[in-house]
């Protein structure tokens, strides 16, 4: 059962990384326009090269 002493911290850490990533997306306004972002992905603009 010693493996638990690695696995539990690792699972908590991975979850924590997910949480931090989510908080980052909230703070950088990535949920302001869900509808528009869903459509933008189908947009053909900047398919060939990134937006300057």
């Amino acid at each position: 059962m010693e493996v638990l002493s690695y696995l539990i911290p690792i699972s908590l850490l991975l979850g924590g990384v997910g949480l931090v990533a989510f908080l980052y997306t909230v703070r950088s306004n990535q949920y302001d326009d869900p509808e528009g972002d869903a459509r933008r992905i189908l947009n053909k603009d900047w398919d060939d090269h990134p937006k300057p």
């Binding site: 539990i8 908590l12 302001d32 509808e35 528009g36 459509r39 933008r40």
Partner: protein
Amino acid sequence: MTAALRPSISACPACVAAPGAQALAEQALHKDAQIALSLPTIHCSACISTVEKALAAVPGVRSARVNLTLRRATVEADPAIMPDQLVKVLEGAGYEAHELDAGTLSVTQNDRAGRDLLMRMAVAGFAMMNVMLLSVAVWSGATDATRDLFHWISAAIALPTLAFSGVPFYKSAWAALRARRLNMDVPIVLALVLALATSLWETALSGHHAYFDATVALVFFLLTGRYLDHRTRAIARSAAQELSALEVPRAIALRDGAEVQLPVAELRIGDLILVRPGGRMPVDGVIADGRSEIDRSLLTGETLPVFAEPGRAVSAGEVNLTGPLTIRATAVGRDTSLHRMADLVAIAESGRSRYTSLADSAAKLYAPGVHILSALSFLGWYLYSWDVRTALNIAAAVLIITCPCALGLAVPAVTTAASGRLFRKGMLIKDATALERLAQVDTVVFDKTGTLTAGTPELTNLSAHDGNDAAIAMALAQMSSHPLAVSLANAARAAGITPAKVDDLAEVPGYGTQGIWQGQRVRLGRAAWTGATPGAETTAWLAIGDAAPRAFTFTDRLRPGAANAVQHLMRQGKRVILMSGDTEPVVAALAARLGIAEWKADALPADKAARIAELQAEGQHVLMVGDGLNDTAALTAADVSISPASALDAARVASDIVLLGSDLEPIGDALTTAQSAIRRIKENFRIATWYNVIAVPVAVIGLATPLVAALAMSLSSITVSLNALRLK
């Protein structure tokens, strides 16, 4: 418009003395000010790129970004770029656009409350997943030290999570208890605290059952419901603010011979106020100077403009049409007729609040029921076993099992789906219970001017005139910005008529335009001025020399979708009534045109409200659709009300739903959507109840394990959310 919307630039007296100061202040503001545009008609990915490209192509625009959810574009541009310019560009690209005040919008962009809820929800979600992982190990057979360790780790995660994520519930429950009331949050908080306390106790005694997973899941599901609810309302609120940002409460006063721009609130009785053509009267007053015509349709519903000359009384809210007017204020602020009508609204408002939402009535049944049930099971088990530990455990299990997860999601999940659907069709649900009230509607009352009709006149008898008359009329009409003249000129242009050559063209404010054609005096204007006898219809008369004047008759143009909306409602079996302050022949003609059997003309604002009260007394549920100040009392008196975006601010505030586009067609769909939404809400309540009916006895007899609690909770929440998504 930009200058006017920016607050207090020119309100300082010094700016008047030094006009340059205003220009400077203007520029300084423009430097890092963004331009916000409302785009009510965008709906697709092609729209996004067309709009962004069109805006970016304007020289001086640095960046343009469209927000499809809010139907808005944010533009960063050089100070030299004026919003009007961008609006024209977008109109050229085929999109309706309106400028918005960036100051008002910044308030809604940083939605603190929403972000706060989202953070708490995220933390609860994170904690729930981790605690669940540990719980799965316990459920699948971890024992002794391992189980205790897992329980302790769960406690270490759950305690700080509940301290952070549960704050909205603690606050709300505390507020309710202080007011000596019970709301949905009181049993929630009780369940959380009790479950946490017994679980900690069990863990300390290395017991078998701990409810850390259930408490965290409970908080997560409830926060989800609350966030959905908040988001729907936040979108509606920000869109409502958008509409308010389009109106300007300013007036030009003459003080010591100089023109001063003042906020309407600073006007005093006796002030001389200049109202330009197209401007709205800011106060009640008497005309001191100038001749013009006044459009009173927003106050009274009359379509025919009224002649205005010195000595005539005007009321706040009327629109000046042709010539500049100077008025002497006789009543300002709260004493104006506009505000007296708003008071009528306040009276009607007190009747409205009687409506109890489905969620509230469910909570009223639920909260005491749960408390009694859990107290009884505690007592029963205590008397049976004389063991506080077992009794407390079972009481906590009952509270957790009956948790209102599904109840908390039942309403918000459906209203979010329904409001989203209606918002995409161009309807803004301002009030939380509007959908429920809309679903009950069986009678629809329409206002005429500005609601069923667009408020713009349409020439009806162009073909009845010979080409010569039409050409002269067109030449005269092109001179004026009077709505009838503009409509006449447009109709003539559409018919391919070239204007006749008329010399010495001049507009006589309040009367019409005149000129010289082939040596003869020609006039286009009011009946009395051209020597004609006035009829009932809206008419502009053309007099050529001394010949008998020719009549150009107009009808009010129907709003797009008006005929379809009325038909749609009638097909659904609704009783449709037309009520207008306009004269009888006009109202009768429109009723016949739309096939409305019941109509009422010459209705005063109080009449409209009284008629609605009468209908309600007969047991009808009334939907009122109106736009004018004369409708506000009726809008508030009705069970539910809709106003178009072009309505007066007061009317929009009084109504529950605002139509964002100019089309009336969505009204019919709104009723169907509301009805199916209510069906879903009731189904959701039924589902939640069935879960409780099955799970509660299991908990009361002491068979509920944390696994059963977790399953019941998750399953009911998921079924309820999925059911909401079925909304058609």
